[in-house]
């Protein structure tokens, strides 16, 4: 059911309306009741099913297949996909809340969920035709399958317009050649959205987006990267060598690829911001819990100003980032331009996560440095949030670009 239909239905009933203006003002003080229930489900799931195994998943680099399956059954793997396609038909605020709670339990489960929702299902849901949605959306909504998004290459990350992977029209088929790197869910995914140049002369306007099922002949996977953090999710290269895909697997029109990628990343940034919030919150929870029990100088260290200052700063940065994230989600849900808001959210949240996890180790002292406590894992998990889906440096450029436009410059 479309959001408009839900809203109209709710307007016929009394409470907890989905009207946009009411949603925004209530989000500043408390979430709408639907989102609160969703938050409870996600928190209970994260605490009961993810938190107890997160350390093991990290240590052994295990993809949490069983948990992803359960998350799918809960409706978390396709949150804003319409119900008729198999999704939950909720909004981006709901997605942000869910992402934060899941990531608070396990950051890897969070990124697996985020890539599937924002980077894979997002563009296909927006730009795909009915046949493409049937093949590439519906089977990927219940947690049994995940997808991935292939934009970065060994030669370009931030410089996305310089894509060197090519797609040549060879009589009835597209033939893909090139290498994509740093692909999250690379190993387990059963389909990917790939960006390749169809017309080099047009530079970034000559990039197109394609849908590639996996496994497929002509597509090989590189080695699984040995990462600092989010180790339960797989990251690898996708190597295309004369990989043939049907003509109808182009997503949108030729030359639309760069635009699709940028629009997709805008939404993805809300997902990653939410993941960072989850990691940051988990760090704060860990620090407060430890500080309340650790006795030094005759009292729990929560009584010491040095510790209080740290906790206050951590909480401030998290709360600020959360409000930015919710605002970006609300703007998106209202159909408004949210590019600058999403960039601010991702920047603020990722830096809040690295700050909070750093200070969490500091509060725990020696205990923060050993794997008996989750602090060191949060520290390692947080670091990537300042890099993927747009480095902090790129976010600043996006913010500045949009800001100057607002001033008419």
């Amino acid at each position: 059911m479309s959001l408009i239909a839900i809203r109209n239905l709710c307007l016929r009933q009394s409470s907890a309306c989905f009207s946009p203006s009411r949603k925004m003002s209530s989000a500043l003080t408390s979430l709408p009741s639907t989102h609160q229930m969703l938050q409870k489900t996600c928190r209970d799931f994260a605490e009961g099913e993810l938190k107890p195994i997160a350390a093991k998943l990290d240590r052994e680099h295990l993809f949490p297949k069983e948990q992803v399956d359960k998350m799918g059954k809960l409706g978390l793997m396709a949150i804003d996909v319409p119900e008729e396609l198999g999704g939950s038909g909720l909004d981006y605020l709901a997605y942000s809340v869910a992402m934060e709670e899941i990531s608070r339990g396990c950051a890897s489960a969070g990124v697996i969920m985020s890539v599937n929702n924002s980077l894979y299902l997002g563009p296909i849901n927006k730009f795909g035709n009915a046949k493409q949605k049937e093949q590439f959306v519906t089977p990927f909504t219940d947690g049994s399958r995940v997808g991935c998004f292939a934009l970065s290459e060994p030669g370009n990350g931030s410089d996305a317009g310089a894509a060197s992977t090519t797609a040549k029209d060879k009589g009835g088929q597209w033939v893909l050649n090139g290498t994509k790197s740093w692909i999250t869910n690379g190993y387990e995914s059963e389909a990917t959205v790939v960006f390749a140049t169809t017309d080099k002369a047009k530079k970034h306007k000559g990039i197109s987006a394609f849908l590639v099922p996996k496994p497929i002949e002509g597509l090989a996977l590189g080695k699984k990267e040995d990462k600092l953090g989010i180790r339960a999710s797989s990251t690898c290269n996708l190597v295309f060598e004369d990989c043939q895909i049907p003509k109808e697997n182009i997503l949108g029109e030729p030359g639309m690829g760069f635009k699709i990628a940028m629009m997709t990343l805008d939404a993805g940034r809300i997902g990653i911001a939410s993941q960072a919030l989850g990691i940051a919150q988990a760090s704060l929870d860990c620090a407060v819990d430890y500080a309340s029990k650790r006795i030094a100088f005759g009292a729990p260290i929560t009584k010491l100003q040095s510790i209080q200052n740290k906790l206050a700063e951590m909480a401030l940065r998290i709360e600020s980032a959360r409000l930015l994230t919710w605002r970006a989600a609300a703007l998106k849900d209202e159909g408004k331009n949210y590019t600058k808001a999403a960039a601010m959210a991702k920047l603020a949240a990722s830096e809040a996560a690295t700050y909070a996890s750093h200070q969490c180790i500091q509060v725990l002292g020696g205990m923060g440095y050993v794997s008996d406590m989750p602090a060191e894992r949060h520290y390692r998990d947080a670091r990537i949030t300042e890099i993927y889906e747009g480095t902090s440096e790129i976010q600043r450029l996006v913010i500045a670009g949009n800001l100057l436009k607002e001033y008419g410059l």
Binding site: I6, L9, C10, Q13, S15, A16, S33, T34, Q36, M37, L38, K40, T41, D44, F45, K73, L74, G75, L76, I79, E83, S88, G89, L90, A94, A98
Partner: protein, 253 residues
Amino acid sequence: MARVLVGVKRVIDYAVKIRVKPDKSGVVTEGVKHSMNPFDEIAVEEAVRMKEKKLATEVIAVSCGPTQAQETLRTALAMGVDKAIHVEVTGKDLDTLQPIHVSKILAKLAQDEKADLVIVGKQAIDDDCNQTAQMTAALLDWPQGTFASKIEKGDGILTIVREIDGGLETVKVKTPAVLSADLRLNEPRYATLPNIMKAKKKPLKKLTPKDLGVEIKAHQEVVSVEDPPVRQAGSIVPDVDTLAAKLKEGGFA
């Protein structure tokens, strides 16, 4: 096939650290996280499972309390309950509300809604009364199966395994009956996102105790609420003789 009435109570969340109000009149509830009583979650889960097994046709959730009790009812709807009834009790009445009043309300609703089964949690984690199921059964003159850890439906008969101090007791009760859910009866489900969305369209009726002919009359008065005494540290003794001597000293032997 059975129509099931489930009683749910909104209580302070089990994970919250309880603080006593400075005037000793009660505990702090303002701004504190509340949720559905855990044993009531188990009761709702059991009722919904009965419906899935086609042993029940309709499940109705009831909650007595202030406006916020509707959140608890919505959670029940999101778990699969068909419709909800909010019996609004506020202000002074809320302070006076006791299991005796709730039982009268549940008994009247059981009759009005033509329920074949009433299930509630065995006790609420705030007052630990463990009275509502028993009183409701008595008022209705229905048999009861309390502390249920297993429920099996037969023909007009329910076989209940009860957890009692001595172990497990099996009883058979004829329906209609009142049951209370114990911890190991089942593991409640998470409310899935699609179900949370569906819950918004399910009916929620509002009533007052007066509509049901129940008067919230005070049967008792809370004199004071205090923290339990702070636990004193123990001491380690070097040998058994010292232990025996200390026990005698303390009057324990």
